[in-house]
């Protein structure tokens, strides 16, 4: 009988209930879209931020020590510590291998432009180097991916061609060179060499005064075959939290379980730790400004999404409240009649709530599908990638639907409880 009354109520009030379902649908679609984006936005924003550079700097342990202690920078001739180039493929074998988006080694050398006797810094690096990993996989990495936001007039050099280079626009202007010209230079070995300028870049930073050559060319002129001074790594990371900060301060303060959690979470510190595990005598230093900015941006975007979700649901609750109250008012005679023939307040309450909840569930189902579509549109428009459907969003949305529906019904429930049969049944 209970369900017959509910079915009858739903069929009879289908227009009003349709409005309630639409209200819930809109709220849920917004919540679903925001939650899915929020739960997936970390990776998406991380990937976006990764296009703006590295967040880890890997240096030889001794060089790092000198740098930390005396403020001496790499390339100043103060350290003879280097990293082995052939070990760099191991970066893609750590636990968080798939979070290592790009990396590239650097080896600096002083050089002089041949005809002008002009001193400049030549930096050997990878541009788009394909590595054969110990796992049998191949990976292509280098400056092309790591510095993708640089404005480049021309092309990146070929890693296999030691006679190609790219120049920062400041250096190119000083040398009077442009794309296609030939840079005559000599390195520390004093041997003259030449490289075709394949492109001139603008990085908006100090790198604009540098010349980048294939790593092998600089290794050749310095006699440091197979060695690199440092490596920049771009990794997808999880925003820092209290556990990550405690681990950074004092790893020994972590319990075994906390250590395991920290190690198995893509905190920048955990990734740095794992890099140090696979590279000989290396120290991976988080570029904290970048890491912290990423965390702050992520935190703010997630807060914004959460606020939008809450706002959407609050609006739904408000609209729902009006609609349900109007519905109860419209049905006051019927409710009074049910009370008069023996229904308790609880009986009537359950009836109305069940009716509204069923309607809300139907609206929520439609809203969830719509929300997934919205999140796909947001993903494509903002991140140019699909937002994955998060299973976590389902119970969250379900809980919100119940909460908002019950909350929206509160004024109607109060009205319903205060309704006395005598007020509505005599018709005069």
């Amino acid at each position: 009988m209970f369900f017959r009354i509910i079915r009858g109520g739903i069929v009879r009030q289908r227009r009003k209930l349709l409005l309630i379902a639409i209200t819930v649908m809109l709220g849920v679609s917004l919540a679903t879209a925001m939650l899915n984006v929020m739960l997936d936005v970390g990776d998406k924003i991380n990937q976006e931020l990764k296009t703006y550079g590295a967040n880890l700097n890997v240096v030889p342990r001794g060089a790092s020590f000198l740098g930390d202690l005396y403020g001496l920078e790499d390339g100043a001739g103060v350290s003879d510590k280097y990293l082995a180039e052939d070990e760099l493929g191991r970066l893609k074998t750590i636990f968080w291998a798939y979070n290592i988006v790009d990396f590239t080694p650097y080896l600096e050398a002083p050089a002089r432009a041949g005809d002008k006797d002009f001193a400049f810094a030549a930096v050997g690096t990878w541009f788009a180097k394909t590595l054969d990993l110990p796992t049998g996989e191949k990976v292509t990495t280098g400056m092309r991916g790591l510095k993708s936001w640089w404005s480049m007039d021309g092309e990146w050099p070929d890693d296999a061609r030691n006679d190609q280079a790219v120049l920062g626009y400041v250096l190119a202007r000083r040398l009077g060179l442009k794309k296609g010209d030939t840079l005559g230079y000599s390195g520390p070995d004093g041997k003259p060499a030449a490289a075709t300028v394949t492109g001139v870049f603008n990085s908006g930073s100090a790198e604009d005064d540098l010349a980048y050559l294939p790593l092998a060319a600089v290794q050749g002129m310095t006699g440091l075959d197979g060695l690199v001074r440092r490596v920049e790594v771009s990794a997808l990371t999880t925003p820092e939290n209290d556990l990550a900060r405690r681990a950074a301060r004092s790893p020994a303060s972590l319990s075994a379980k906390e250590w395991e959690t920290w190690y198995c979470t893509a905190y920048i510190g955990a990734i740095a730790y794992q890099i140090e595990e696979v590279l000989t005598d290396a120290r991976a230093k988080p570029i904290l400004q970048v890491a912290e900015s990423e965390g702050a941006i992520l935190g703010k975007i997630e807060l914004l999404m959460a606020l939008l979700t809450a706002l959407g649901m609050a609006c739904s609750a408000l609209a729902l409240s009006n609609l349900v109250t109007a519905s109860v008012l419209e049905r006051s005679t019927e409710i009074g009649l049910l009370k008069a023939i023996g229904a308790t307040d609880l009986d009537v309450l359950l009836l109305i709530l069940a009716e509204i909840l069923l309607t809300a569930v139907a609206g929520a189902g439609a809203g969830y599908s719509l929300g997934l579509w919205f999140s796909r549109i947001i993903g494509q428009a903002v991140f140019n990638a699909a937002i994955s459907v998060s299973p976590t969003a389902v119970p969250l949305v379900a809980a919100m639907v119940v909460f908002v529906t019950v909350l929206g019904c509160v004024p109607a429930i109060k009205l319903l409880l205060s309704l006395r049969p005598t007020q509505v049944l005599h018709g005069r």
């Binding site: 009354i5 009858g8 019927e334 049910l338 308790t344 049969p421 005598t422 049944l425 005599h426 018709g427």
Partner: protein, 226 residues
């Protein structure tokens, strides 16, 4: 034996005295008509006797149970178990069939039994209309569904508020016949009415004026004076 006893019952709404010091007893199986002009307190008395309102003062005992001390939930239980209500405006749930409108009273009382509900509809001449919605029934038919609903739980007291107020003569006759039949089978009936014709069917008639019982007569005398 009395089914209903009102002792010194008063009801005030703010400064309005709707009922003043009413003393009344209704015997088991009696048909009582409450008459009086508009505003005389008929509906207030019906609400109090029907457990839909509580008297401001005095004592109301229905089937041996004092109503004035009961909480709202207790009044609902009494209303459900002991009273059958018939309204002037019919008041059926519009999206339930005639049969379901009867079953719903069983549902809140005990266990729904469609056969029993169908029998109740047959007893008011609506066996063939059991699957019709209220909108598909005439006013008289709707009122007879109300009567079937009021009877379904075998109430101690049938309380009818202007049961023929919205009916034509033919339907009024039908409804009064049903009430006579119920009365004949021992049911206690209280009818609130404006109509001397309806009042004349009662064993006893009380006439309210300004919230007080102005006079008491019998249905037969009322019929003669009409």
């Amino acid at each position: 034996m009395n089914i209903l006893e009102l002792k010194d019952v008063s009801m005030t709404y703010g400064t309005v005295k709707a009922l003043q010091h009413i003393d009344l007893t209704v015997g088991q199986g009696e048909w009582l008509a409450i008459m009086g002009p508009s505003g005389s307190g008929k509906t207030t008395m019906m609400n109090i006797v029907g457990c839909m309102d509580k008297a401001s003062d005095g004592s109301v005992v229905l089937d041996g149970q004092e109503l004035s001390k009961l909480p709202p939930r207790g009044l609902t239980a009494i209303r459900r178990d002991k009273i059958g209500l018939i309204f002037q405006q019919f008041h059926l749930v519009p999206y339930l069939t005639a049969l379901e409108n009867v079953v719903i009273a069983q549902y809140y009382h005990s266990m729904p039994d469609e056969d029993e509900a169908l029998e109740a509809l047959r007893s008011v001449g609506l066996g063939e209309r059991a699957r019709h919605l209220p909108s598909q029934l005439s006013g008289g038919e709707q009122q007879r569904v109300c009567i079937a609903r009021a009877l379904i739980n075998c109430p101690k007291l049938i309380l009818a508020d202007e049961p023929t107020g919205n009916l034509d003569e033919a339907n009024e006759k039908l409804v009064l016949e049903i009430l006579h039949r119920l009365h004949g089978s021992g049911s206690t009936i209280i009818v609130v009415t404006h109509s001397p014709d309806v009042g004349s069917h009662a064993d006893r008639v009380i006439v309210l004026e300004h919230g007080k019982i102005a006079r008491t007569t019998t249905g037969a005398l009322l019929h003669k004076s009409a």
